[in-house]
Symmetry: C2
DNA sequence: GTCAACCTACTAACTAATTAGTTTTATTGA
DNA sequence: TCAATAAAACTAATTAGTTAGTAGGTTGAC
């Protein structure tokens, strides 16, 4: 038997989504160009990955002349939310307090920073 | 070309680690029994996964009579820290504030809960 | 001593993920 | 028109991950 296709973005998938979020609609060529800045990658590799992203529903595409133009269906915020939820359930028994505790321990974040954030959130609501 | 073996715990791996964290040292039989409570799983499947966990360095084993007894090498806290750091870098541009913001938006966590946590952390230091 | 159970080692099957080459098709400029 | 070019479609190779069957050895019970 075999594994299920993961719901979460894989590394490669995320690389492309990152570019779509950054640049908005992009052709395969654009994406390949942007990715190549980090690490050389074949055009056809990018094509394949874009096709998979579309199959998985993370991206959309339309034809413009010869080329396919891809567009993110999931927003960056949604992706963050989903990844965070996943982590929360998988590692922290769905306890946001536990996660917050680890975050405070591990990073240099301070309660006063959080208070400022909370205020900002309250204001924007 | 093919993919790299992931540093992060996979789903299956985590299931076993979870049991090792819960129960401490466990034989394959123990682990299989505990896993079966959730979802039927073949004994040999568990064996294979334990072997892989050991290969990856996440678990240790020793022989006791005929059986192998497995033990987690990484603590649950370390795993949490590592997963959290991973999420932080991958999705939140290494900004703990951004992550905290999403956590507060998404969950029902309250500042006063965090204050209690902070107090606890300060006391135990 | 034999037999059942128990356990590991080996093997296998199959999908996902990653990377990229080859083939086909369509556009466009000379 | 026709060749160059660009892009998609198709194909392929390889490793990871998941699940489990089979073979073979130990050992304890009777």
């Amino acid at each position: 038997m075999a594994r299920k296709r993961s719901e979460q973005l894989t590394d490669g998938e995320q690389g492309i989504m990152e570019i779509l979020w950054e640049r908005g609609e992009s052709s395969v060529k654009d994406i390949a160009g942007a990715l190549a800045a980090e690490k050389p990658v074949a055009y056809t590799t990018v094509q394949t990955m874009c096709k998979i992203l579309a199959e998985k529903g993370h991206a959309d595409f339309r034809k413009e002349g010869r080329a396919f133009i891809y567009r993110a269906r999931m927003s960056r915020t949604e992706a963050r939310q989903s990844a965070l939820k996943n982590l929360l359930n998988r590692f922290f028994g769905s306890s946001p307090e536990l996660l917050a505790q680890h975050l405070m321990r591990e990073t240099d974040i301070e309660l006063k920073d959080l208070e400022a954030l909370q205020k900002k959130i309250d204001e924007t609501d």
